[in-house]
């Protein structure tokens, strides 16, 4: 089971945090700090896995963003790497050539897409088509662009 998933920039700015276990705020901050310092300190072309406390850490860099997750001991590291990849693919499919800014400005969407894919730290659905379909479907339920533009800015 995955314990957490973090997305942070090369400058260590946290862009998305998903916790699959309830943890006190202080502990979360500690983990974020440890992860960013550990991962950012890694040299290029080192392996994507580390041990940290009793967790396995799997991370991968996509352009300016690091995707980093903490796994339990019996979880499969290679597969976790592909979970990260599939999530990137899903974001890419939704935003079209996704970049860090998309995730900053549409953070709630990034969470919704993740929710379609993972739940409670386990894989819920691996099919790109199914996930894309349900995200699209929920977008259909939302207002039109016109409605949006006519709304006040504050």
């Amino acid at each position: 089971m995955m314990h957490f998933l973090l997305l942070f920039s090369r400058q260590g700015k946290l862009r998305l945090q998903k916790w699959f276990l309830p943890l006190p705020e202080r502990e979360r901050k500690k983990i974020v700090k440890d992860m960013t310092t550990m991962v950012l300190a890694r040299k290029p072309r080192t392996c994507n896995f580390m041990h940290w406390k009793d967790l396995k850490i799997v991370y991968k860099r996509y352009a300016s963003l690091y995707f980093c997750c903490g796994l339990e001991n019996q979880d499969n590291e290679l597969l976790a790497l592909e979970i990260l990849h599939r999530y990137v693919e899903l974001l890419d499919k939704y935003f079209g050539n996704v970049c860090e800014l998309d995730i900053i400005f549409n953070f709630e969407k990034a969470y919704f897409i993740l929710d379609e894919f993972l739940m409670g730290g386990e894989i819920q659905e691996t099919s790109k088509q199914s996930i894309a379909k349900s995200v699209e479907a929920s977008d259909m339920l939302q207002e039109t662009m016109e409605e949006y533009m006519s709304k006040p800015a504050f």
Partner: protein, 978 residues
């Protein structure tokens, strides 16, 4: 700002995010955020009712601010309101806010639960999924209580949409992990297992995580999943890469599901049914064969997915540990990966091989890769890979290759990364000891270790070399000679001085015949290091000096001169000064015979578990070897060393008849005696080594009645104030627990706060709180006198197997307590698995010069980790019946010790930590309780029934738990309470 292309962007939100991004400084950001917070607050408080869109936008802004790392203390109510909106997007934002920010505000939880309940019964699949996600994200006990009954129904209902089934399965898993007692699978079991056959791959993928978790906890009930899993796996493995459509990932059919199936099978032994087993072996062979086929794509995703399955299959093969053919193939495959150009694969191969090394079928095959692994240790650029290589070398070490491996590890240590040095040192020390045939090699290795990595050599390591040298008289002369030589180095590590001081003090006589190491040369050599050393080392050296006076009378005047010098006898450090004064006195007044008796050679140490091994076990953190790995290491030691070691033993025994327990297996690996690994407190090193020896040092100084001097001599430690001290308080060994400590422990079974102990000097108060498997205890040490306590130290130890059951961490206390003052100490406790004994708290301090030493039991009992479980009468008796095996029950009939007052009894039972269930027992006089003990390893459900008999003034107490030891222990604890 990018154009919002999809869905409903919220313009105000986008503007706000832009503003934040444009802030030039942290201060500007905070200013902007405060402005926004004020704005939102006024909108929420304003008279005008907000429309759904605005509410959503502001809630979303709050969420963004929270995710930036700022605290949010309002908006929860508005978010809850959004949940009941009919607009999907508003509902969705409301749920997102709750998932990220919910706190256990009970008022709010009730409202949230209401909204969830509505959505669950809405039959709108999108809404149902949102609600299920929220439950899984929050996963609190309140939610489990509200929904644990409903979700299994949704999961197995015929008309539930596939996407909802997927969410329901994982939601249920989450609740099962938080509150297993509330998720009753009973009637659903077989339908859940049959989800493995579901048409929809997504449903199987989600359901299998749930099934795996349930199988781990209830293997028997879910046994039928084995054959279903095998046939599903076989269908996937043999399918063409296009058969599974979108569930094929980069030409690999359903990698996630395949891995999950292989993981599920690891919950069970190999299938008994021949046909099923045959099919499974076929699958495993196919997976191994596919690894040899050329890749269908050059993409790394393809090879990762394919290898993920391969590694999972290898894990299963190792788990079965019964198919030599497959094991050897697995080992060869991993061997190939060891030299793969992908760093990730080399890392994983090293890691998997560690477990393979412990199988008797593959141990030899793993050993053939030794050169590659050593090479990895030397040349890998990535420290985490080198770490795995070091772990593997440790795991594959046996008598045949120990010298090579230890030598390689030692040479690696010279350049090793700081982060892993300490662990490497421990491993070298353990291997050197475990596989030492010739103890001069052992001594060389450890001294080398101190030379190369002295800073990382913990006390345990050098204590251990001394224990071994003392226990083996064939190596003592060699050890003395070697340390003597090592000390010649102009700059040698302080740890070397410690070992040198101790060994020359004991065995310097064995090399004194050589004029190059005459007594005076030895002394001068040691003393040349003295001024560079820390206080504890100096204290140890002073003890070595007094031993020299005994061993070599010719050094007496020189040493007395040294002791008499102002820098010793007036040293500002009390410990050093005291030693100098006492030793000087001892050397001048005691006769040679008395001196010889007092300073007799150390007797052999009792066999015990290696303190180093205990340390490695305790050491957690980056890259630490898990306890499991060590256990495996143990097995491996037996498998490989067993036969030959027997022979060695007898040889050594013969040559070493003078040593009482001449086992070569000094680590005590095979018969781990449950001895307290007395965690030596800081302070006086010499004494700690003594106490490790279990030597009673009563005779050391105290028995020496000063013949002529005034009775105030420092020698007589115990005089003066010692009257008030308990008799055991004079020794520096941790005192045995006070006779009343059990009684004191019992006082705290049903309460968490109070006074633990009190005598004329000291009062110890206690406050504690427990949550799940964690506890925190505050100890308050009050000085009741008007004189300060000095060198106040407390040590908490977990005797015997308690060490592996409880994890107790203490913060050190201030060593000085002023008269009338109180200091506080925090102790953190983690319950790893159920336990019987209580940890020991040893307290030592000096009051007016007299050493006080007392040991108490810390009132940590298994019931502290109870979580109450409410249940109805029907459920209670159903559970009661389920726990009907004779060993699950413990019962006691006993006489009442206190008045049989119902209210008092209730209060006590509540204090116990279980839920007191009303209207459950048909007899209103009786009490029944239910609770779950939370340990890290498992949860143990327990039920209690107490039947008072007022006439006879007797009670009958019955406990039933899923674990027999727990029932017994609870019964014992409770029988003392009523």
């Amino acid at each position: 700002m990018p154009a919002v292309s999809k869905g409903d962007g919220m313009r105000g939100l986008a503007v706000f995010i832009s503003d934040i991004r444009n802030c030039k400084s942290k201060e500007a950001e905070i200013k902007r955020i405060n402005k926004e917070l004020a704005n939102i607050r006024s909108k929420f408080k304003g008279d005008k009712a907000l429309d759904g869109y605005s509410k959503k936008k502001y809630v979303c802004k709050l969420l963004f601010i929270f995710l930036l790392g700022h605290d949010i203390d309002f908006g929860h109510m508005e978010a809850v309101n959004l949940l009941s909106s009919n607009k999907y997007t508003e509902k969705q934002i409301g749920y997102l806010f709750i998932s990220v920010l919910v706190n256990s505000n009970s008022e709010l939880i009730r409202l949230i639960n209401n909204a969830i309940k509505n959505d669950l019964s809405s039959r709108n699949p999108t809404f149902m999924c949102l609600a299920l996600h929220c439950i899984a994200n929050v996963g609190s006990r309140e939610m489990a209580e509200a929904f644990a009954g409903e979700i299994p129904r949704i999961l197995v209902a015929g008309d539930t949409m596939d996407s909802v089934k997927q969410s329901a399965a994982l939601c249920l898993l989450r609740l099962y992990k938080t509150s297993p007692d509330l998720v009753l699978m009973g009637e659903w079991t077989s339908r859940v297992v049959h989800l493995l056959n579901d048409q929809h791959m997504g449903v199987v993928t989600a359901a299998i995580s749930l099934i795996t978790c349930l199988s781990q906890k209830n293997p028997d009930e879910f046994k039928t999943c084995v054959s279903l899993a095998v046939s599903r796996l076989s269908r996937i493995v043999s399918s063409a890469s296009t058969d599974l459509q979108d569930y094929t990932y980069y030409f690999v059919p359903a990698p996630w599901l395949s891995c999950k199936l292989l993981r599920l099978l690891q919950c069970y032994p190999p299938p008994e049914d021949g046909a099923v087993k045959g099919r499974l072996v076929e699958c495993l062979e196919t997976i191994l064969n596919k690894a040899q086929e050329p890749p269908k794509s050059k993409k790394v995703q393809h090879s990762n997915a394919k290898n993920a399955i391969l590694f999972e299959a290898i894990s299963l093969i190792i788990h079965y540990d019964s198919e030599p053919n497959l094991l050897v193939r697995a080992c060869n495959q991993l061997g190939q990966f060891l030299q793969h150009r992908e760093t990730n694969l080399r890392y994983l191969a090293l890691e998997s091989m560690c477990t393979l090394a412990s199988s008797e079928f593959s141990h030899e095959a793993v050993k053939t890769h030794i050169e590659t692994v050593i090479n990895a240790l030397k040349t890998e650029r990535d420290v985490s890979v080198r770490q795995r290589a070091a772990d593997l070398l440790y795991a594959m070490c046996d008598r045949s290759n120990a010298k090579q491996i230890v030598a390689e590890m030692l040479s690696y240590l010279e350049t090793a990364d700081y982060s892993i040095r300490e662990e490497m040192v421990l491993k070298v020390a353990i291997l050197a000891e475990k596989y030492a045939v010739d103890y001069s090699w052992y001594v060389d290795t450890i001294l080398n270790l101190i030379r190369i990595a002295g800073d990382y050599v913990s006390e345990e390591v050098w204590y251990r070399v001394i224990q071994i040298v003392i226990n083996r008289d064939d190596v003592q002369g060699y050890a003395a000679k070697t340390v003597f030589e090592a000390l010649q180095a102009p700059a040698c590590h302080e740890n070397m001085v410690k070992v040198g001081g101790y060994i020359l003090g004991e065995f310097g006589n064995l090399i004194a015949g050589d004029p190059r190491s005459s007594p005076l040369v030895q002394f001068n050599l040691l003393h040349s290091k003295f001024h560079l050393c820390s206080v504890p080392t100096r204290a140890l050296l002073l003890s070595a000096y007094i031993k020299f006076i005994n061993l070599f009378p010719e050094t007496k005047s020189t040493i007395q001169e040294v002791l008499r010098s102002d820098s010793q006898i007036r040293n500002s450090d009390v410990e050093l000064q005291q030693r100098a004064v006492e030793y000087l006195k001892l050397s001048s007044i005691a006769s040679t015979d008395v001196l010889a008796t007092v300073l007799e050679e150390m007797p052999p140490f009792p066999e015990r578990e290696s303190s180093i091994l205990a340390k490695l076990k305790k050491k957690k953190g980056p890259g630490a070897v898990s306890v499991n790995e060590l256990e495996e290491g143990k097995r491996e030691g037996e498998l490989n060393g067993g036969g030959e070691r027997g022979g060695d033993n007898s040889g050594i025994a013969a040559s070493n008849a003078s040593t009482p327990s001449p086992s070569a297996d000094l680590l005590g690996l095979r018969t781990v005696p449950p001895v307290t690994a007395a965690a030596p407190s800081a302070g006086s090193l010499l004494v700690d080594v003594f106490s490790e020896a279990g030597v009673n040092d009563d005779g050391f100084l105290r028995d020496l009645e000063p013949p002529t001097e005034s009775s105030d001599s420092l020698l007589a430690e115990g005089s003066g104030d010692s009257d008030s001290a308990p008799p055991s308080a004079v020794s520096e060994d941790p005192a045995p627990p006070l006779p009343e400590s059990n009684e004191l422990l019992n006082k705290f079974v049903c309460k968490n706060n109070g006074v633990l102990f009190e005598n004329q000097l000291l009062q110890i108060g206690i406050k504690s709180e427990y949550r799940q498997n964690l506890g925190r205890m505050y100890l308050f040490y009050g000085n009741k006198t008007s004189v300060q306590f000095v060198t106040f130290t407390t040590t908490v130890t977990c005797p015997g197997e308690l060490q592996s059951q409880l994890n107790v961490q203490t913060k050190t206390v201030e060593p000085l307590i002023e008269g009338g003052a109180q200091v506080q100490q925090v102790i953190n406790i983690e319950c790893l698995t159920d336990f019987l004994d209580a940890p020991l708290l040893n307290i030592k301090f000096r009051y007016g010069g007299a050493l006080q030493n007392l040991t108490l039991k810390l009132p940590v009992t298994i019931n502290k980790f109870f979580q109450p479980t409410e249940m109805a009468s029907h459920d209670f008796f159903q559970r009661w019946k389920q726990l009907s095996q004779p060993q699950q029950e413990a019962q006691k009939i006993f006489k009442a010790n206190h008045a049989m007052d119902t209210e008092v009894l209730k209060a006590k039972l509540l204090g116990l930590g279980m839920a007191l269930l009303e209207n459950v027992d048909p007899n209103p006089e009786n009490f029944v309780c239910a609770g779950v003990i939370q340990t890290k390893a498992q949860q143990v459900g327990s039920l209690l029934r107490l039947e008072p008999n007022a006439q006879a003034q007797m009670y009958r107490l019955t406990l039933r738990s899923s674990k027999d030891t727990v029932s017994q222990r609870l019964c014992e604890l409770l029988a003392e309470q009523f």
